[in-house]
Amino acid sequence: MSREQERVSKRVQELKPSGIRKFFELIIGRDDVISLGVGEPDFAVPWRIREEIIYALEKGITSYTSNFGLKELREAIAEYYRKFGVECSAESVLITTGVSEGVDIALRAILNEGEAVLVPEPCYVSYAPLSSLAGGEVVAIPTTPDFKLSYELIDEYAKETKPKAIVINYPNNPTGVSYSKKELEEIADAAIEHDMIVISDEIYAELSYTFKHISIASLNGMEERAIILNGFSKAFAMTGLRIGYAIAPADILEGMLKIHQYCMLCAPVTAQIGALEALRNGEDELEEMRAEYIRRRNFFVKRVGKVLDVKMPDGAFYAFPSIESTGLSSEEFAERLLFEKNVAVVPGNAFGECGEGYIRCAYAVSMEKLREAVDRIVEFVEEL
């Protein structure tokens, strides 16, 4: 082991590099790639929100805010979350620098060394590494082939490992799966049965098409054990502004705040101003984007469904087709599709081992580009 390696902590050395990162390197420098590999809206921040931010800068609003975030924004979020069935006050809301920070400080706030965390996979890439960094033991729950959690599935894994928490994400990145109230009740029952905290990443809540999104925190007995994480990146196309929030029981929120005040101090004030405008006046733009995503989803599934097995996503802007019928591995498929047809998708195994045999396709691109990309995918599969 070289000196350089020794200087980096064991914990970090043991982290697996992100599968997405590796694929990203392959794409750099290639022209004319149509990318379905992008986990962010193809819309820019709605203009009214940008105007509000510009105006705030002109007025000189550039200082720190309270560690918790702007009071008006916390109030607006508490009011807004009624939409998803949750009654809470501004005191339960902490403004974070995106959901990414929310995941990190939630895990760090609750985990002791060696405590288990259930991570249903395929899932967003950060849950497992951030759990490890917080000292937790990651227990992956494979959810293939229907990508859904059930009471039995959670129970099976929780019995053995006595987990402190479970991280759920719905509508899900990368599968697009979401849950009805009845299905959520099963998850809640399992969480109560095994006395787990539920970290619920609801960043795609507004992009829910099959079900009206309901927060798991609104279910009986969950108020005291659910940490809601959400933000403005997806619903309001504000990815680069890095603005999110956590809604959590008082003791946990206090713990999260402790970490947040030392590592982040507060979320960027300009982004907080933009977020407030998004909640006050962003509904129309949101509806337009939603309607457009639904059209693209239908279009993608219909066309790609002719050559690959693909489940109709309930939400978010991802489809997760199976490529098993092609006989290729996820990485082979993605690499060859990139090199032969100039279309970028993400190999499913980047989202957990059980994602092998799938690819993630983000339909957050214009209809014109999506049509072209889909035609190339169909052509590619047919030529195999």
Partner: protein, 164 residues
């Protein structure tokens, strides 16, 4: 007629009238036959007025002059707003006629090949209508947005090719 379906199809067609029923079917999940029927009904009922192409004539090298004319009129028992508006609207040079609130009554958009042509049209055909009191002509120097479409190069997609 299923109103929600009709509205969804109209929204899609308003953005791109060249989509085929098959493509709209793929986007909405409605059958092509259903879509054809809804479109036909919308055409018959005058909900869909026309399918047009939005052209940037300046880019095409064609000189076209637009002017926005504020027209103030006086009403009589015999002539109301509708009567006067129809009289103005029938000229082929007239691109749009709108009754508006504010300092004047009609906003008329006139299209012509030159400033002179437009100016003379206003002087000879609009100002001479007996009910017209005054006209103010504003020539359009540059257009930035038409029919909801930006005529300048918008921001490019700056996203990275792969992000989680």
């Amino acid at each position: 007629m299923d109103n929600e379906k009709t509205l969804e199809i109209l929204r899609i067609l308003e953005d791109n009238a060249r989509l085929s029923s098959e493509e709209i079917s793929e986007m909405t999940g409605y059958t092509p036959k259903e879509i054809d029927e809804i479109v036909k009904k919308a055409e018959e009922r005058g909900i869909i007025l026309k399918y047009k192409t939005l052209v940037d004539w300046e880019k095409a090298g064609e000189e076209i002059v637009y002017a926005v004319i504020d027209v103030r009129v006086t009403l009589t028992r015999e002539k109301n707003y509708d009567d006067i508006a129809k009289r103005i609207a029938k000229f082929p040079e007239v691109h749009a006629v709108r009754l508006v609130s504010g300092d004047y009554d009609f906003q008329v958009v006139v299209k012509g090949k030159s400033l002179k042509e437009v100016a003379f049209f206003v002087a000879e055909k609009i100002s001479t209508i007996p009910e017209v009191l005054t006209t103010v002509t504003h020539f359009v120097l540059r257009s930035y947005k038409e029919e909801g479409v930006l005529l300048f190069k918008d921001e490019e997609d700056r996203r990275l090719a792969i992000v989680p």
